[in-house]
């Protein structure tokens, strides 16, 4: 095993060549940490790490770092999401130091949903940096032990520089446009220093396979661990909503027909998700799956079990 950058479980899983499984855990819209405890209970032992979202869809939720620490207490490894929407480079670097000090090893860098979609559309956004610059900044903090401004990360002149140990993630959306730019964007993230990426949820398998082909043609799959995203469809209504109202998402009618005809929609939704995971696993260059069960975390153990991905390997 080559030298680890952060030593997180997720990093070790990839280093071992095992197929990784992560899930998403949305922090609560209140100060009650028990929500995390409950959701963590579903996921423990089922996934390698869990993404803690950073005020996703621009709705105020518990801070991802705080929720990540609560998840760690429950024995789950967090992947903290950081977006560029709400914080400038000063605040982000400060949070990264704090997160590292609290034992967080995986950080996923995102641009962030526009605040127009959230519950504070009158707020101002930041976007001091974009996600690629954020990845570069974190890599620089880790590898060069330097802040974005170039200063060394040290508490005083005579002390050694101490950078945060991070396994750096990014996101990719092969379903957004312009399609030809999507692989370029991944290449830019790789150049910036991303270690792993998770994709937007895959429903349009053909387009995903086409994107993966472009990824392999550039040899990017050998430089970054790519996790395909999946989201189980709970109902026909949800499938239609995802198809019609979520920008950058393609849900083929085939799935909507299948759900419509099924007697037990939830069971069919899970069956579809399991099939998708099995198919994604066969695609060369796909190193893992990221399950985003939106407010349906309790179904993740079943999905992972049916997909034949438990027990998780020891690392």
């Amino acid at each position: 095993m080559s030298e680890l950058k952060a030593g997180s479980r997720l990093e070790k899983i990839f280093a071992k060549g095992a197929f990784a499984v992560t899930a998403e855990l949305g922090p609560p819209k209140c100060a009650d940490g028990r929500v995390i405890t409950t959701k963590a209970g579903f996921l423990k032992g089922t996934v390698d790490a869990v993404n803690i979202t950073d005020n996703q869809t621009a709705i105020v939720r518990m801070s991802s770092i705080a929720a990540g620490v609560l998840a760690m207490r429950e024995g789950l490894e967090p992947v903290i999401q950081i977006t560029c929407r709400d914080r400038n480079r000063i605040a982000i670097q400060s949070d990264v130091l704090g997160a590292a000090a609290l034992g967080i090893r995986n950080i996923l860098c995102l641009t962030g949903d526009h605040q127009k979609f959230g519950n504070h559309p009158a707020s101002r956004n930041v976007f001091d940096m974009d996600s690629i610059q954020l990845i570069d900044m974190l890599r620089c903090m880790r590898d060069e032990k330097k802040f974005q401004c170039g200063d060394e990360i040290k508490n005083s002149k005579n002390e050694p520089a101490v950078g945060p140990k991070l396994f750096i993630g990014g996101a990719e959306n092969p379903f957004a446009d312009p399609f030809e730019f999507r692989v370029i964007r991944l290449a830019k993230k790789v150049a910036a220093g991303v270690d792993f990426v998770q994709t937007q949820c895959v429903y349009d398998m053909e387009r995903f396979e086409e994107w993966m082909k472009q990824v392999r043609n550039r040899g990017l799959h050998e430089k970054v661990s790519i996790m395909a995203g999946v989201t189980p469809l709970k109902s026909v209504g949800m499938a239609k909503y995802m198809r019609d109202s979520v920008a950058g998402l393609v849900v083929p009618d085939y799935y909507i027909d299948r759900l419509s005809k099924a007697a037990d929609k939830a069971a069919e939704g899970i069956a579809i998700c399991v099939e998708q995971i099995r198919r994604l696993r066969e695609i060369p260059g796909v190193a893992g799956v990221h399950i985003m069960a939106i407010e349906w975390e309790q179904k993740i153990p079943e999905i992972v079990r049916l997909a034949g991905l438990v027990p998780r390997p020891a690392v």
Binding site: R89, S131, D136, D177, F181, A247, G248
Partner: protein, 223 residues
């Protein structure tokens, strides 16, 4: 040009309530072109205000004037007397003109009749759109002459986010173009697509508003 839009009449009417002598002062430059605060718009606002006052039984003396530019002090000379006459000046210039008028006529209340929007172009009659935010460090050379700071909702410098679909921005898919689709298309047509593969470093925003209030001094032309 600076693009502005007239405030709703009710707001303007409310702001001049209680004043007896009102000068509506138009501007002959940008806001004339974008049909928000030129001579014609001054006439319309004055008529509307007179009518509203008449209906409400309010006694208000309204005068009209339009000068070439409200962002240059020399043009105010011709309306000096009218401004001095007025209790309040209702400026139909952009925010720059409103402020300069107030600076030149101390003690005079100057109110804005427009909402100043952006630096933009006329797309066609009646349609104006943003092109520049005045960041103070032009990056157009890297993006085929399409500005990602002004034309991407998130000012991204390294490509489109996941919310770009069919050429539109997720913030308003009906009316808002994805700036990055525009950049991509332009660079492709110029045969320069490979240049977009270069990572753009984090921008130095100190030349933008983030660096504080800006001022430009050209020693070679200062008298």
């Amino acid at each position: 040009m600076i693009v502005a839009e007239r405030k709703p009449f009710e707001k303007i009417n409310g702001s001049v309530k209680g004043y007896k002598k009102v000068l509506i002062l138009g501007c002959g430059t940008c806001v004339t072109v974008c049909m928000a605060g030129g001579k014609k718009e001054v006439e319309i606002l004055a008529s509307t205000l007179r009518l509203a006052n008449q209906e409400a039984g309010v006694a208000m003396d309204i005068q009209e004037a339009t000068i070439e530019r409200q962002c240059d002090r020399e043009f105010f000379d011709e309306v000096k007397e009218k401004i001095e006459w007025a209790d309040v000046v209702l400026s139909m210039a952009c925010g720059v003109g409103v402020q300069l008028c107030g600076e030149l006529f101390c003690g005079k209340i100057v109110l804005p009749a427009l909402d100043t929007k952006f630096y933009g172009v006329t797309e066609k009659q009646g349609v104006w759109s943003e092109r520049c935010t005045g960041c103070g460090d032009c990056v157009l050379e890297f993006f085929g002459g399409v500005c990602p700071i002004a034309r991407c909702s998130k000012s991204l410098l390294n490509g489109p986010c996941g919310g770009s679909q069919k050429g539109k921005c997720e913030v308003d898919p009906k009316n808002m173009d994805c700036g990055w689709q525009l950049i991509y298309d332009r660079m492709k047509s110029l045969g320069l697509l490979d240049r977009l593969e270069k990572n753009q470093p984090a921008k130095n925003w100190s030349s933008a508003r983030d660096g504080g209030v800006r001022k430009t001094v050209r020693e070679d032309v200062v008298l």
